[in-house]
């Protein structure tokens, strides 16, 4: 209970986030090859289990994100979490990358598993535990 199970990933252009220390993207960053999208792709590649959500696991800002966090925590799964709220480009680029319109989005081994509905359904059927196993 005391130690956080998640590994917060700063997605805002914080120095040192990526190996190259990607500079803050200008407002007019194009849709392809944007630093934000690259940072997202990198985060997905670097974390086996990563959740893009509204708010943080400790303070979810949306019921769907809260429910998805609760499912992961109930399975004792360590996961990285990215708050998409601080920068609207994160959500934009994430959805463009994943072809998935809503938040949260759970990725395992670089693959989109689903949002709250699918994660919950898979949890109830036991499939999620297998995927995370």
């Amino acid at each position: 209970m005391s130690s956080p199970q998640f590994d917060p990933v700063p997605m805002a252009p914080t120095p040192g986030t990526g190996p190259a220390g990607a500079p803050p993207a200008p407002e007019a960053a194009g849709p392809a090859g944007s630093p934000v999208r690259d940072a997202i792709a990198e985060a997905i590649a670097e974390h086996r289990v990563i959740l893009f959500m509204k708010g943080t696991p400790d303070a979810p800002a949306c019921g769907f994100s809260a429910r998805t966090v609760a499912v992961l925590q109930s399975l004792d799964t360590p996961f990285a979490a990215v708050d998409i709220l601080p920068d609207p480009r994160i959500r934009q680029e994430l959805s463009a990358l994943s072809n998935w319109p809503t938040i949260p989005q759970l990725f395992v081994d670089g693959e989109l598993v689903g949002g709250c509905d699918i994660v919950t359904e898979m949890y109830e059927s036991g499939e999620l535990e297998q995927v995370l196993g």
């Binding site: 959500r91 959805s95 998935w100 319109p101 809503t102 509905d117 699918i118 359904e121 898979m122």
Partner: protein, 81 residues
């Protein structure tokens, strides 16, 4: 602001042979729950099934339609024991 009836009709019109049950979760016209049954889902992963339904609404998802909770079924899922 879309009504559950409108959401239902749009799904059923866009996915041939589908049947949708839609409810407005909050009464506010922006949080919906839909259960969609379609032969077209056969052979698709859950992700692909949901994408098919989300695709009906495009940019409206996350916009005027804040949330669309989905459950997708194939006719055979239903008749299975």
């Amino acid at each position: 602001m879309p009504s559950p009836q409108e959401i239902k009709q749009r799904i059923e019109a866009a996915i041939p042979g589908s049947r949708a049950e839609v409810e407005d979760l909050t009464g506010g016209g922006d949080h919906f729950r839909a259960t969609v049954t379609a032969e077209a889902f056969t052979g698709l992963s859950r992700i692909e099934q949901h994408r098919l339904v989300y695709g009906v609404f495009g940019e409206e998802i996350g916009g005027p339609i804040h949330a669309l909770t989905l459950r997708t079924l194939t006719p055979s899922t239903i008749s299975a024991p």
